[in-house]
């Protein structure tokens, strides 16, 4: 299978450098050395808690943010040259935002919002745009009468459908879905997830589905990648990764997710917080919270190693 998206050694550092007076500014490594490969038609789930760098990663993938290092290749085309030009990315890869209402300009009608990508990315003329808009509305199950309304008149679920329609307008091959349902109620969440599944099958799309909700990610993904403190700590098939985690952090995540019929299991250990991003530990970032950590974990960050069965984990003492 050809890769729809390939990322190598992607890193992003905020801050850093020196001030006018020559003092070093503090730097935060939001994403460090992330390499991913997503096959065509596949859904890769990316999970992690707040501050793990998942949104920074997503913004780099769609060209909204400049990587500090690394290479992005979409559909076999190296996009390193076009970085900083979201329009070049926009024809190949699109983004669906977490907050559906905030991602729509409050002073534009839905028609104006949907026309923008058709005009600027697809270069369609007026009749072409009109035809494509009604196609898009059909695809996301919205009625044509919504077109001349403003975003505040819509519920979260409807607004997210509009966001999806906009992302699909220029016929990209890949969608980056950044927490697309976490602002929605559960009954609406299921509607949107099913819509996404239908669209993927019909339009042969590739998804990167980012979420903090393990159950949602598991329900939609073929493979899952777990991020912790800016690094990939584990990747593997969705069916296995939470059932038989190899990395202790994945195990902690899976055990913490509230589940019907499972008793409360408070996480062990005092330190339940992320390390200080301005003073990251030299070794594995999870070592302070990890029950299996030993001296070698604290020396250098462990590399992501294959563990067989399509799985990989960045752990020296895997489960």
């Amino acid at each position: 299978m050809s890769a729809a998206l390939q990322v190598e050694g992607l890193s992003k550092t905020f801050g850093g450098g020196r001030s006018l007076l020559g003092r070093a500014r503090p730097a935060v490594h939001a994403v460090e050395d992330v390499s991913l490969r997503v096959a065509r038609g596949e859904t890769l789930g990316i999970v992690g808690e707040s501050g793990c760098g998942k949104s920074t990663l997503a913004r780099m993938l769609v060209g909204l943010s400049l990587p500090t290092a690394g290479r992005i290749e979409i559909a076999g085309r190296d996009l390193s040259e076009q970085i900083g030009d979201p329009a070049a990315f926009g024809r190949l890869i699109q983004y669906v935002f977490q907050d559906p209402i905030a991602s729509l300009n409050p002073r534009k009608t839905i028609r104006q919002i949907l026309e923008a990508p058709l005009r600027h990315l697809a270069g369609l003329d007026a009749p072409g745009r009109r035809a494509r808009i009604s196609e898009l509305l059909d695809a996301v199950n919205l009625r044509a009468e919504f077109l001349d309304r403003y975003p505040h008149e819509f519920s979260g679920g409807q607004a997210q459908r509009i966001g999806i329609a906009r992302a699909l307008a220029a016929e990209p091959r890949i969608l980056v879905l950044d927490e697309p349902v976490s602002a929605l109620d559960v009954s609406v969440q299921a509607q949107v997830l099913n819509l996404l599944a239908d669209l993927r099958a019909r339009l042969d799309l590739t998804y990167l589905f980012i979420s903090h909700d393990l159950a949602v990610v598991e329900a939609v993904s073929e493979r899952i990648a777990v991020l912790y403190f800016g690094r990939l700590v584990e990747t593997g098939p969705a069916a296995e990764i939470f059932a038989r985690p190899r990395h202790p952090y994945t195990a902690l995540l899976a055990a913490s997710a509230p589940q019907v019929g499972r008793p409360l299991s408070p996480p062990a250990g005092e330190a339940q917080e992320l390390p200080d991003p301005y003073a990251p530990p030299p070794g594995c970032a999870f070592a302070a919270r990890c029950p299996r950590a030993e001296a070698d974990c604290r020396a250098a960050p462990p590399p992501l190693r294959p563990m067989g069965g399509g799985r990989a984990a960045a752990c020296l003492h895997p489960l």
Partner: protein, 624 residues
């Protein structure tokens, strides 16, 4: 349309608008009115008092008709003031938008330039500009405009910086827009109201400044009349002929006052924060206007909390939002009741209504009774209510950053909570606060008590929130989605603390959530809410294993569960009904596949046997 109506409803703004309109209309009609030449001197007629024949407002020291000069002068002053405002707004907003949008070095360069402009006193700067360009009305206009550019630049830059990082701007970038197009089509429409507000509040000031320059002889040159120069000429005769300065003075006063009143009205009408009623102060307790007599209290000991037929409405204009439409609840001592529902189902309003914390106006409790230990909080005086709040009954909210005071150390906030209800010396209260922080497993509690809320992580802040709720040993704690904003690994810790404390202290807990997993881990009983009513209630395990209301069943089915693998979810079609237009009968009927004709009429009661009850005519079969 609504904006105009809002301005009109503001009496002062309407008054200002009428006065200003009258002045503008008269000024505009000046060439058509039968006025004598304003510049025609008639030394014989000089300094005639007002109301003399042929000169309604009298004449000035050269015998020129004051009424004519006033109207022509007003015309000129208005034109210059408005032109200066437009020029200042255009230049200032352009600078502000460019600086705010581009950021970085360009922002720095432009704004430091603006800062330099602001370093001079405005009148000095205006004088300097006029001195360079030479006196004259047009040069005065340039000076006034230049002096006001920084006001617009700084204002608009602030707004633009906020907008440039909003998600919809990123979305437009991904739609292929960039540079000037992005500014004109995405940023500008959102900045425009702010520019209008800034202009409406400064235009009066600009008219005043122009008049000031003319008064000093730097603006309009004789014989041309504007309000400032008229005032300047009249000043010399203030004692002998006061009318010559009073007439233009009154006109300046009228114009500036009406412009400012109208400008404030425009600002209040356009500013979304003021529009949403941020200026109206809610009452100390939710208003209670019961339509029917209070239901009689049941005999005997009864539960700790008993809610009967609670109805809470929001009355906004002509619309009535029935957020809570008849809720019955009971919590025994030491029991944990989960209240589950989607957003807008009324679960939070129910919780806030118990101690009358719903903002009033617009909230009104229209029916029911809330008995805590037998006493009806809906009938209490505010002082009695205050003694219960935070002492016998306390709340934990979703967002601890919003509920903790940002400027007080967390220890001091706990001390304040303790001393609000008991006369404890400060030192003892501090010790109790630290002990409470230790109890919620805050590491190094004695040191952390001296931290400010922003220095703590989300999980630590919520621990403080729990400590704050429990520090006065309440009997009942109402927790409104306390872990929704937290990460799962942090959530697990918080839930464990809450569960441990509840069992240790025999607390009753009303736990509001939308997460079935959390309910099943924490709660003894669960009540499911939909569109302001409880549709099903019962022991948690039984309700989750065998839901009887179709809504409960389908809601459980559409939540993905970990370990179930990749699959299609069973979504519920449609949306919950808006609470200002609830359907008759069952509110879920429009989305229900079992709904029959009977479901859409009359009231459907919450009925059941034992500890389970369901509000449905066709409940699901319970497997034997």
């Amino acid at each position: 349309m609504t904006t105009l109506r809002l301005i009109w409803r503001n009496r002062l703004a309407a008054f200002g608008g009428i006065v200003l309109c009258a002045v503008v209309v008269v000024a505009l009609l000046a060439p058509l009115l039968p006025l004598p030449d304003p510049d025609l001197t008639a030394p014989a007629e000089r300094l005639k008092p007002p109301f003399s024949a042929g000169a309604l407002l009298g004449t000035d020291h050269l015998g020129r008709d004051l009424l004519s000069r006033l109207i022509w002068g007003t015309r000129l002053s208005l034109a210059v003031g408005i032109a200066a405002a437009v020029i200042a707004a255009a230049i200032g907003s352009t600078i502000g938008i460019i600086a705010g949008f581009r950021g970085g070095r360009i922002d720095n360069l432009l704004m430091r330039g603006i800062d330099m402009l602001m370093a001079f006193p405005y009148i000095l700067l205006a004088l300097a500009i006029v001195a360079v360009l030479g006196p004259g009305l047009v040069n005065a206009l340039y000076a006034v405009a230049a002096v006001n550019v920084p006001f617009f630049a700084r204002n608009i830059r602030g707004v633009t910086v906020g907008l440039a990082h909003r998600e919809f701007v990123d979305a437009a970038r991904l739609s292929g827009k960039s540079g000037a197009r992005l500014v004109f089509t995405e940023i500008l429409p959102n900045v425009l109201p702010v520019i209008v507000i800034a202009m409406s509040t400064t235009i009066g000031w600009m008219i005043l400044e122009t008049a000031g320059l003319s008064f000093l002889g730097l603006g309009s040159q004789p014989p041309q009349a504007d309000l400032g120069s008229m005032l300047g000429e009249g000043r010399k005769l203030l004692i002998t002929a006061p009318h010559a300065s009073i007439v233009p003075g009154v006109m300046i006063f009228l114009i500036v006052m009406s412009v400012n009143l109208l400008g404030d009205g425009v600002r209040d009408a356009l500013d979304p924060r003021l529009r949403s009623g941020a200026l109206s102060r809610p009452a100390a307790a939710t208003e209670v206007r019961r339509k029917a007599a209070t239901p009689a209290a049941g005999a005997g000991a009864g539960p700790l909390l008993a809610v009967e037929g609670l109805e809470t409405e929001f009355q906004v204009g002509a619309r009535v939002y029935r957020a809570v439409g008849g809720v019955d609840l009971a919590i025994a001592p030491g029991e944990c009741l989960g209240l589950i529902g989607e957003s807008g189902s009324g679960k939070s309003v129910t919780a806030l209504s118990l101690l009358r914390l719903v903002a009033s106006p617009p909230g009104v409790i229209t029916a029911g009774a809330v008995r805590i230990g037998g006493e009806d909080t809906l009938a209490m005086k505010p002082e009695a209510l205050r003694r219960i709040r935070g002492a016998r009954v306390s709340y934990i909210f979703q967002d601890p950053l919003g509920t903790l005071h940002p400027l007080l150390r967390v220890g001091d906030q706990l001390v304040e909570a303790i001393r609000a209800h008991a006369p404890v010396p400060r030192r003892a209260a501090w010790a109790r606060a630290v002990a409470m922080l230790e109890r919620v497993q805050i590491p190094n509690a004695a040191a952390r008590a001296r931290s400010y809320p922003h220095e703590l992580s989300g999980g630590m802040r919520q621990r403080v929130g729990i400590a704050l709720a429990l520090v006065n040993d309440p009997e009942l704690v109402i927790a409104d989605e306390p872990t929704t904003a937290l990460d799962v690994t942090v959530q697990a810790g918080i839930l464990a603390i809450l569960d441990g404390l509840r069992r240790e202290r025999g607390l009753s807990l009303l736990f509001i959530t939308h997460d079935f997993g959390v309910v099943s881990q924490l709660c003894d009983r669960v009540a499911v809410m939909y569109a302001g009513r409880i549709v099903e209630t019962g022991p948690t395990a039984e309700v989750l294993a065998a839901p009887r209301h179709p809504y409960t069943r389908r809601l459980i089915a559409c939540v993905p569960e970990i370990g179930a693998g990749r699959r299609r979810l069973e979504a519920i079609p449609g949306l919950p009904p808006p609470v200002d237009a609830l359907p008759e009968g069952c509110a879920f009927a429009p989305r229900c596949d079992k709904a029959a004709e009977r479901c859409r009429t009359g009231q459907i009661a919450l009925e059941g046997s034992g500890d389970r009850a369901v509000r449905c005519l066709f409940p699901e079969e319970v497997p034997a």
